[in-house]
């Protein structure tokens, strides 16, 4: 029972905050509400017996991504007006999204229900083993990707690129 109520609360929180993100007029507000969504999702993870993922979620998303986002918003904001998140064709988008939602819900409802497995939840140890044995290739590829992303971000944002200099001196 308590589980149901907890799920309802968390789910309501997530959906509400997500709606606020989607409808946010101010970028900073949007980012903050996203934080709420991510945080609530972390709670949900705990409820789904994935505490490690919840931790990661909090660390990476709420700690890292949120910070990045806020920094990004602040870096690109020059006045209130520009930070405003304009919107267009809300009706069409709404109809399409609702339509998709309807289809997904129908699909889910018509599928056979799966009951909670009683298997012991995966521990950090399991995940770590799995990462370094079964998925070691993907893991290494991911680390390469991260490296590339890091370098890419630096290169993209460097101000003193030679070609840029030539361009600016013109």
């Amino acid at each position: 029972m308590i589980e149901q109520v907890g799920f309802g609360l968390v789910a309501g929180c997530i959906v509400l905050a997500a709606l606020l993100v989607a409808r946010a007029k101010n970028a900073i507000h949007g980012v903050l509400w996203l934080g709420v969504v991510l945080g609530a999702t972390a709670v949900l993870y705990v409820m789904l017996r994935a505490p490690f993922l919840a931790g990661i979620q909090l660390l990476l998303y709420v700690g890292g991504v949120m910070t990045l986002m806020i920094l990004g918003v602040m870096l690109t904001r020059h006045d209130q007006h520009e930070a405003a998140l304009e919107r267009k064709r809300p009706w069409l988008a709404g109809v399409l999204s609702l339509f998709l939602l309807g289809m997904l819900v129908t699909a889910i409802q018509t599928s056979p229900e799966l009951h909670a497995s009683e298997a012991a939840p995966a521990t950090v140890k399991d995940i770590g083993r799995s990462l370094l044995t079964e998925h070691v290739l993907a893991f290494e590829a991911l680390s390469l990707l991260l490296l590339a992303t890091m370098i890419g971000a630096i290169v993209l944002l460097r101000r003193d690129r030679p070609d840029r200099l030539v361009e600016e001196s013109r």
């Binding site: 149901q4 799920f7 789910a11 997530i14 959906v15 997500a18 993100v21 989607a22 946010a24 970028a27 980012v31 969504v37 991510l38 949900l44 993870y45 789904l48 994935a50 993922l53 990661i56 990476l60 890292g64 991504v65 990045l68 986002m69 990004g72 870096l75 690109t76 520009e82 998140l85 304009e86 919107r87 069409l92 988008a93 709404g94 399409l96 999204s97 998709l100 939602l101 997904l104 819900v105 889910i108 409802q109 599928s111 229900e113 799966l114 009951h115 909670a116 497995s117 009683e118 995966a122 990462l131 998925h135 993907a138 991911l142 990707l145 992303t149 890419g152 971000a153 993209l156 944002l157």
Partner: protein, 99 residues
């Protein structure tokens, strides 16, 4: 709490993200919406992991989170670049690339 409910929640989150993706003009807004959608998929993964008793879902979610992070990093870099170039990060401006 059933798998169906989790999936419906995930679907709802995904559709909200989609709605945001379709309506926002500002690059930051787009990134936010994308995050919502990514989160929706992660919820799915974890839910399946829970209900099937398979740790694989969590591992996948882990990868997914990492990928999302890289996406945000590159996305933000582009947003900043756009802003530098146009003093504005509304994606409509960048449509002059097509000429």
């Amino acid at each position: 709490m059933t798998l169906g409910l989790c999936l419906i929640l995930s679907a709802a989150l995904f559709c909200i993200g989609l709605y945001g993706l379709l309506t926002h003009r500002h690059a930051i807004g787009l990134l936010l919406s994308l995050e919502l959608m990514a989160n929706a998929t992660n919820i799915n993964l974890i839910a399946f992991s829970r209900f099937r008793g398979d740790s694989m879902g969590q591992v996948f979610a882990l990868f997914s989170i990492a990928l999302t992070v890289t996406e945000v990093v590159v996305g933000l870099a582009i947003v900043i670049l756009l802003h530098r170039a146009y003093r504005d990060a509304r994606v409509g401006r960048a449509s002059e690339f097509r000429h």
